[in-house]
């Protein structure tokens, strides 16, 4: 079973077309294995992206360098999944 320890979901708030284009460039970096939950389209929509642990430093550095604002929406995805499983087991019990 695939697990997601250390994966974070970042909510990125782009404020310009330039930042949207930068995020599109980021999304093409296949080696980072990013999973865009909502894609960079225009600056009225936040961009949510799941970032594997091994890519966190690179992504944060990229966002910081380009002064693109973001917040951490989910600190550890696996924690939420474990909680979801516990809830399901509790419900069955």
């Amino acid at each position: 079973k695939e697990t997601f320890e250390g994966h974070q979901v970042l909510r990125i708030i782009p404020i310009s077309e330039v930042q949207i284009n930068l995020l599109k460039e980021l999304s093409k970096q296949d080696h980072l294995l990013l999973d865009f939950w909502t894609e960079p389209i225009h600056d009225s929509l936040a961009v949510d992206v799941r970032v594997p642990f091994h890519s966190l430093q690179a992504v944060r550095a990229f966002l910081g360098y380009h002064e693109i604002h973001y917040e951490i929406m989910i600190h550890d995805l696996q924690d939420l999944m474990d909680e979801e499983q516990r809830e399901m087991m509790k419900s069955r019990a």
């Binding site: 865009f36 929406m73 989910i74 995805l77 939420l80 999944m81 979801e84 809830e87 399901m88």
Partner: protein, 310 residues
């Protein structure tokens, strides 16, 4: 631990495909003259594509609702289950729903992508696509919401089998999509088609593959406004609404573009609620509020469909 009746089913919890199937069977057993289960096809891995039919008479026009075409959007099949129980509970008590069901059948496909849904429960919670292998690629599955014959292959879909928006080798290549296509064509009298996704709080109408407005845009926009206003009245949840291409992005091969082009005027797609903190991991305690508020919007669409025959 299986509940014996649909009253004992825990609507505020997430369930597996087999649990949802058992729920459907219970509902049919409890209301055999009102609810039936149609199997409109089989998934790639051989799971039944179950559709609940709510009907109070013969030869009625139909309203279609589907949930869960993207596997990881768990709140959609959970809401679909709640809708099914709501329809049974409210028929004969709620005058608006009763009037709708006295004229229309309602078809509800709760798990549109059962292989993917099963995979999210057993192997990868973040899986989105179907589970059919792709020739010549190690990557599995197709984005079933890019696989329809409406601008198929255009911008806003991918030809890379490893992409999350891989459109598939040809339109309707996925059995999960083809089954709905065949059902829609053979029924021939669906008047509304609502495909439900999550998350990001949107109610959208055609088109996604072209910037050309659909010919009913003014009416669809007005109805969307009414639907999201009704939805908001319950918990204050804000929805955006508009055409897919204007509100989100260009997306080719999408479900409701195809259904609209088939002549189903009231074709809509939802993106259900997000509390702003969880995305696809919406906690189970959010299922019922999500379903409750969405139901109000669905009722607005269904009632308008009833009142505006075409």
């Amino acid at each position: 631990s299986q509940p014996r009746t649909t009253d004992g089913y825990d609507y505020a919890s997430y369930h597996t495909f087999s649990e949802i199937t058992s729920f459907m069977d219970m509902l049919v057993q409890e209301k055999p003259n009102f609810v039936s289960k149609l199997v409109i096809g089989k998934s790639y891995e051989g799971r039944p594509l179950n559709v609940l039919k709510f009907s109070t008479g013969a030869n009625r026009p139909g309203i279609w609702i589907d949930t869960g075409i993207h596997a990881r959007e768990w709140v959609t099949p959970a809401s679909g289950t709640w809708f099914a129980k709501k329809i049974v509970s409210d028929y004969g008590h709620d005058t608006v729903l009763t009037a709708i069901l006295d004229k229309f059948d309602i078809f509800l496909e709760i798990v549109t992508n059962p292989d993917g849904f099963h995979f999210t429960h057993t192997s990868n919670r973040m899986w989105r696509k179907t589970r059919k292998p792709n020739d010549g690629s190690i990557c599995v599955g197709v984005d079933a919401n890019r696989n329809w014959d409406a601008g198929f292959g255009g911008a806003g879909s991918s030809n890379n089998p490893c992409s999350e928006t891989y459109r598939g080798p040809s339109a309707h290549s996925e059995p999960e999509v083809k089954a709905i296509v065949d059902f829609v064509k053979s029924h021939g009298n669906l008047k509304a088609f609502v495909s439900i996704h999550s998350y990001s709080q949107m109610l959208l109408y055609p088109y996604g593959y072209t910037r050309t407005p659909c010919k009913d845009q003014a009416e669809l926009d007005e109805l969307a406004k009414k639907a999201v206003t009704d939805l908001k009245s319950l918990y204050g949840t804000n929805y955006k609404y508009g055409s897919i291409i204007n509100v989100i992005y260009q997306a080719s091969g999408g479900t409701i573009d195809w259904t609209y082009n088939q002549g189903i005027k009231y074709s809509y797609t939802f993106e259900l609620r997000d509390t702003g903190r969880y995305g696809f991991m919406l906690p189970a305690n959010q299922i019922i509020p999500t379903a409750e508020e969405t139901w109000l919007a669905l009722m607005a669409i269904m009632e308008h469909t009833k009142n505006n025959p075409y």
